[in-house]
């Protein structure tokens, strides 16, 4: 009988092999799928995987999209490692974009060196406040942050629609649902001359370093890790899960809000509906495929971003419909989750049942909403 035996320590080689295996499997299945739909599979894959890196400009576009993904995913991974599932980064991103837009939309035509820091600060505050509501609901009432943050994302998109169709619509915008164009003082400086890549990439890399320091060297990181891996032990050691909830959601909201501000102050240059393009959801894929590890997330953000840029190219060169990128992303995450089993378990031929530790529970409702779910993986080590 083949059994999965839990490893005492996560396998390092498997941690590197899992995303590569997943990538290979996702590529293979996409190839078959595209061929079955009568699309030139080879051309499509070339566009998806090679074209993004084939020219300096397209690579700069990859970096442009990788910055918000990286920033959001670093924030989310802190929570995921602690078993706090903030899956509403999309809403925090949108609210960050909205908060940052308030100044140029309501403040006339602001100029001066204070405009940019103020807008970035407003973006972070917007994301933080939106995530804070979920932290409050979880802390005060015990409401599942999974569902609350998800519902909040759907509400945030409606708030965005309301503002753009109503009070924040550009009066000279030919009735399009967009805000005024931001003045130059509100636009982030370009990092790489001749491209659209802006300083948000620097913020994202700084956040990655911070995330690494937080997880490896600071007591907080240790506390969060223990809180996620062994809630009972954490409570015994006096580490309040409350702190994990507030810290995880707070940092996640902050990062997503900053990314949202960066999107309107960067490539968009105004508030528009396309700001809710799914960065918040894609960042969840980035966080997982990056193994919930700060370094892995940097690599995964660039890889997933490349798939987006390559997907755009594939719509032209191989006639792929735009959602093909989503299919590839979904396959990648699915295969990664399956491959990840190798990191946490070894496959052994052993007699006897493999049992999982029972988690204590209260009340008579399905245990799904009592925090950690029964077969939930804890993510990375």
């Amino acid at each position: 009988m083949v059994r999965l035996m839990r490893r005492d320590r996560a396998s390092r080689s498997a941690m590197v092999a899992a995303p590569l295996l997943a990538l290979g499997a996702a590529v293979l299945v996409s190839l078959i799928l595209f061929a079955a739909l009568g699309k030139p599979a080879g051309v499509a894959l070339h566009a998806l995987l090679i074209r993004p890196f084939a020219s300096w400009y397209s690579f700069s576009e990859v970096l442009l999209k990788a910055a918000p993904l990286m920033l959001i995913a670093q924030g989310l991974a802190i929570g995921f490692r602690a078993n706090v599932f903030n899956i509403g980064a999309e809403g925090q991103f949108v609210m960050g974009a909205v908060a940052a837009s308030a100044l140029p939309v309501l403040g006339g035509d602001p100029s001066g060196p204070w405009v940019m820091p103020l807008m970035l600060g407003a973006g972070m505050a917007g994301g933080l406040a939106w995530a804070g509501l979920a932290a409050f609901a979880r802390d005060r009432f015990g409401a599942s942050e999974i569902l609350v943050t998800l519902m909040q994302s759907l509400i945030a998109v409606q708030v965005l629609n309301y503002l753009l169709l109503g009070p924040w619509k550009d009066p000279r915008g030919f009735n399009f649902p967009v805000s005024v164009m931001f003045p130059d003082a509100a636009l982030l400086p370009i990092l790489l001359p001749g491209t659209r890549t802006n300083v948000l990439l620097v913020f994202a890399l700084l956040a990655s370093v911070l995330a690494w320091v937080l997880m490896r060297h600071r007591l907080t990181g240790f506390q969060l890790l223990v809180g996620g891996l062994a809630p009972g032990a954490a409570r015994y050691a006096g580490i309040a899960p409350r702190r994990a909830v507030w810290l995880s959601l707070g940092l996640g909201g902050l990062a997503a809000g900053l990314a949202g501000a960066g999107e309107v102050m960067g490539p968009l240059g105004q508030l528009q509906r396309s700001v809710a393009a799914g960065y918040g959801y894609a960042a969840i894929v980035v966080a997982y495929v990056g193994g919930l590890n700060p370094l892995g997330i940097v690599v995964a953000a660039v890889a997933i971003s490349a798939v987006y840029i390559g997907g755009d190219a594939a719509t032209v060169s191989a006639g792929l419909p735009v959602p093909a990128v989503e299919v590839f992303q979904g396959l990648l995450l699915a295969f990664y989750l399956v491959a990840f089993v190798l990191v946490r378990y070894r496959i052994a031929r052993m007699p006897g049942p493999a049992t999982r530790a029972a988690t204590p529970r209260r009340g008579g409702r399905p245990r799904t909403f009592d925090g950690p779910v029964p077969s939930a993986a804890d993510g990375g080590p």
């Binding site: 899956i87 015990g142 569902l147 959602p323 699915a334 399905p366 245990r367």
Partner: protein, 289 residues
């Protein structure tokens, strides 16, 4: 037609996709799992169902095809969570993204195509009532759903199968210890949830609004997820919640047509707002208990 008559005529059909998906997810959650991929499974069911009806002209094949496709997709979720012991939140999102992508991929060459819906079957006499009459002119799926809900309630609350499902959700270790195959029961529940979501999606694309447009599920999967919480995992309450949320959606359309000044975004947000409030109240109550 007055607004009220419009709402009464449409409420049951508008609620049906929500109801089917929510009842399916309710059974999944009763076994202790959470599949967040409903939106994607509904979208896949809608796309496959539409293409099948378009090509064959048969609604039986379309609805069955939609349900089957979504059930297969949900089995991918079961494989990840039960087989590879992956995190359910991530697995649910993977299924959701995959379903939305696949639906758009399959539907890409059918954009804006239409099929014919199903005829309405009227109850004699009652369907001639003023205002309320529309309530008694429904398609065969709506009529079938009424006994269907009762049967589901009966199975879950009054039979051994229902008891086993609840036992698996409330104490998996105990259920395993007395000899039930927890993995198999959970996989079955996940497949049922997938089939129901797919059926709901296929109904939406081939009967309710028989045309294909990418993104036509438009958040109904998320509302279904909210509904399960709103209905506190009870068949009857989930059904009432589906009617309520269905009325909200329809009422919003009617109010806009009548030129009401309520922003449609507020109406669109209401199901989610109500669900957050419900979650807080329910969780606080359980904490005190």
């Amino acid at each position: 037609m007055t607004i009220l008559a419009f709402v009464f005529a449409g409420i049951l059909a508008a609620s049906l996709p929500l109801l089917l998906a929510a009842l399916g997810e309710m059974v999944v959650e009763k076994t202790g799992l959470l599949n967040l991929g409903i939106e994607g499974m509904m979208a896949l069911g809608a796309a496959v169902g539409f293409v099948a009806v378009y090509l064959t002209g048969s609604h039986v094949l379309g609805l069955a095809g939609g349900a089957l496709a979504a059930a297969l997709l949900s089995l991918a979720f079961a494989g990840m969570v039960l087989g590879a012991r992956a995190n359910q939140v991530a697995a649910g999102l993977a299924v959701g993204v995959l379903g939305l992508g696949l639906s758009a991929l399959f539907g890409a060459s059918y954009e804006s195509f239409t099929v014919s819906g199903l005829p309405k079957l009227a109850v004699p006499a009652l369907s001639d009532l003023p205002v309320l009459g529309g309530l008694f002119r429904q398609d065969v799926l709506v009529w079938a759903a009424i006994p269907g809900v009762v049967v589901l309630w009966w199975v879950l609350e009054r039979t051994k199968a229902g008891l086993v499902i609840r036992a698996v959700g409330e104490n998996a270790d105990a259920a395993r210890a007395i000899g039930y195959d927890v993995v198999l029961i959970r996989a079955g529940a996940v497949a049922f949830g997938g089939a129901m979501a797919g059926l709901g999606g296929a109904y939406a694309s081939t009967v309710l609004t028989p045309l294909w447009a990418e993104g036509m599920i438009a958040g109904r999967g998320w509302i279904a997820l909210a509904l399960v919480v709103f209905g506190t995992w009870r068949t009857g309450r989930v059904t009432l919640g589906a009617l309520l949320f269905g009325t909200l959606v329809l009422g919003g359309l009617a109010a806009q047509a009548a030129g009401a000044r309520v922003p449609s975004q507020l109406l669109a947000s209401l199901p989610y707002l109500v669900t957050i409030v419900m979650l807080c109240i329910l969780s606080a109550g359980r904490r005190r208990a």
